[in-house]
Symmetry: D5
Subunit: 92 residues, 10 copies
C-alpha cells in the first residue's frame, strides 16, 4: 500500500553541531535500511530545500506511523502524508 | 532529470459528457505512450480525489513543459511542478 | 484500517432540483449500506455546514478510493482524507 | 453533544526531558479517565504527526472548555474544535 | 449555550431579482422571529460587507444546526460557527 | 459605535510564572473596569483556546486603539478588529 | 475618523458591456461627489490590478457602511476595511 | 511616485527595554524628518495593532528601498510594499 | 526602474475559440513590440502553467500600469507586481 | 536551463554580529563568482525586503541544488524555485 510522504527538516537552533550530525547519520542508516527492505521505495531531494519527497510501501496505516515516528529526525521534521492508489491509466 | 507533478482535474461544467469522455480517452492513450517511453515514470491516484501524483524523467524544463501543455486534459487541470534531484541517503 | 474523511457538498447550479434530489437519495442508500456493512463507521454532520465528518474502516487505500469515488455525490464534493491509527493513550 | 477536537502537540524547546515526560504521563492518565467515563469517546493518532483527532461527548460548551483547558498538555497544544450533530443519513 | 456565527451572503447569479428579494424578505421575518424568541441574541452587519456576525443562544449543537440550515438564505451563505463559553473575567 | 475584537493570548516563554500571573490579574481588573463602564459590552471565551471574542462600544477608532493598546496583556496578544454597524433585520 | 478601504472589482461575466459601462460611469460620479465633499479623502489605483486603495473620513461605522453599500459597483466588488487612527510619530 | 507601505513591528524578545526604546526614539525622529521632507506623505496607526499604513512619495524603487532599509526598526519589521498610481476617478 | 510581473491567464469559458485566438495574437504582437522597445526586458513561461514571469523596465508606476492594463489579455489575467531594485551583490 | 529563485533571508537571532557579517561577505563573493561564470544570470533586491529574486542558468536540477545548498546563507534562507522555459511570444 503506497503513501507519498513529504518531509521538511527544521534543524534545532540550540543543539551542538556534533549532536545533530550524529542524528543525521542515524537517519541515513535508518533510511537506507528501509530502502533495502523495499519499504521506503523512493527518496528524492526537493531542489533548493532541506526537504524530501518519498514513496513508502507499507502494510497499513499503523505500519507507516511506526516507521515515521521512529525516524531519528522525527522531532525536527514537518511531515505530510498523502495516501495513494493505482491510477487507471497506469501501465504498471 | 526528475520532476514531481501533481495534476488535479477540474471537469468542465458545460461540455457534453461524450465530448469529455473522448478527451479522457485521449489522455489515457497519451499517458500510456509516455509511460512506455520511460518519460512518465510513475502515475498514482490520490485517494478520494480526482487528482494524481506523477514523476517525470525529462531532458530539461522545456521538454517537461511541452509534454504537460500537450496533455489532452491540460485546459481542465491545475498543475504543480516540483523539481527533484538525487537524495544523499538514497541507495539508488 | 481507519481514515477520517471530511466531505463538503457543493451543489450544482444548473441541475434540475428533482435530478439532484434523486442523487441525494441514492447517496443516502449507499451511505446506509456501507454503515450496515461496518465500513462507514461514523457519519456526523458539521454544525452549520453542508458537510460531514466520517470515519471509514477499510482494507487498504484502494478500498477507500473505490468507495469514495463511487459516492453518488462524488462529482459534487470536496473530499479530504486523513489516515488514522491507534493512539497510545486510547483504551480501546 | 458531540464535538470533534483536533489536538497538535508542540513540545517546549527548553523543558528538561524528564519534566515533559511527567506531563505526558499525566496527560495519558487524564485521557484514559475521561475515556472510561464515556466523555472522550474516540482518540486516534494522525499518521506521521504528533497530533490526534478525538470525539468528545459533553453536556455543553462550558463542559468541553473545562475539560480541554485542564489537559496537562494544554499549554503545549494547538486545538481546533468542530461542533457535530446527527447526520440524516446516519443509521445510529 | 452560546455560539458566534459569521454568515456571508453570496447572491445567486442567475436568479430573477424578484425571487431573491422574496427569499431575503423571508430571511428577515425568520431572523426577527428568532430574535424575539431570545434565541438569536445579537445580529450585527460587518462594515463594507454583505455579511453579519451573530450570537446564538441554543439548547445544543443540533438545535443550532436546525436553526441555521432552515435559514431561507442558507443555500446562498458561507457560515462559520465558533463555540463560546463564559470568560473568567466577564462580570456577567 | 461597535467593534468585534478577537484576542488570542500567546504567553511569553521566558517570563517567570509569578510575573505573568501579575499581568493577568491586572488584565482582569482592567477588563472588569471597562465592562462596568459599559465600554467592553461582551466578553466570551472561545472553547478550547486561550482566546476571547469581545464586543466594544466606543466613541471612535482612536478610543478603541487607546483601550486595546493599554491592555496589560497587549504585548502578548494577537488582535483582530472588525467594525460593526446596525443590521437591517435586527430588532434592537 | 479614518478607514483604509481596499476595493477589488470583479466584473460580471454575463452583463452586456453597455450596462456595465453605465454602472462604472455612475460609480465615477458617486466617487467624485464624495471626494468633493471631503469624505473620500484619497483614491489610488493599485498598479496592474482592477483595484483601488482608498482613505475615507467618516462620522462613524454606520456612515462608512452606508457609503460603501451604496457604491454602484458594490455588488461587483470585494471590499476590505481597516480602521485607522493617529500615529504617535505623525507630524499632522 | 506613490507607494503604500504596511509595516508591522515584531519587537525583539531578548533586547533590554532601554535599548529598544532608543531604537524607537530614532525611528520617530527618522519618520518625522521624512514627513517634513514630503517623502513620507501619510502615516497612520492600524487600530489594535503594533503596525502602520503609510504612503510614500519617492523618486523610484531604489529611493524607496534605501529609505525603508534605513529605518531604525527595519530589522524588527515585516514590510509589504504596494505600488500605486493615479486613479481615473480621482479628482486630484 | 525594474518590476517583476507574474501573469496567469484564466481563459474565458464562453468566448468562441476564434475570438480568443484573435486576442492572443494581439497579445503576442503587443508583447513583441514592448520587447523590441526595451520595455519588456524578459518574458519566460512557467513550466506546466498557462502563466509567465516577466521583467519590465519602466519610467514609473503609472507607466507600468498603463502598459499592463492595455494588455489585450488583461481582462483574463491575474497579475502580481513586485518592485525590484539593484542588489548590492550584483555585478551589473 | 532557467530557473527563477526567490531567496528570503531570516537572520539568526543569537549569532554574534561579526560572525554573521563574515557569512554575508562569503555569500557576496560566492554570488559574484557565479555571476561572472554566467550561472547566476540576474540578481535583484525586492524593495523593502531582505530578499532577492534571481535567475539561474544551470545544466540540470542537480546542478541548481548543489549551487543553492552551498550558499553561505543557505541555513538562514527560505528558498522558492520556479522552473522556467522559453515563452512563445519572447523575441529572444
Amino acid at each position: 500500500m503506497l503513501f507519498q510522504v513529504k518531509m521538511t527538516v527544521i534543524p534545532p537552533k540550540d543543539m551542538p553541531e556534533k549532536e545533530f550530525s550524529d542524528i543525521k547519520m542515524k537517519e541515513k542508516l535508518y533510511a537506507q535500511g528501509l530502502q533495502e527492505a523495499g519499504t521506503w521505495l523512493h527518496l528524492w531531494r526537493i531542489v533548493g530545500q532541506y526537504a524530501n519527497i518519498s514513496i513508502f510501501d507499507v502494510k497499513d496505516n499503523t505500519h507507516l506511523h511506526d516507521l515515521l515516528s521512529a525516524l531519528p529526525l522525527f522531532p525536527f521534521m514537518d511531515i505530510e502524508v498523502t495516501p495513494l492508489c493505482n491510477h487507471p491509466s497506469s501501465i504498471k
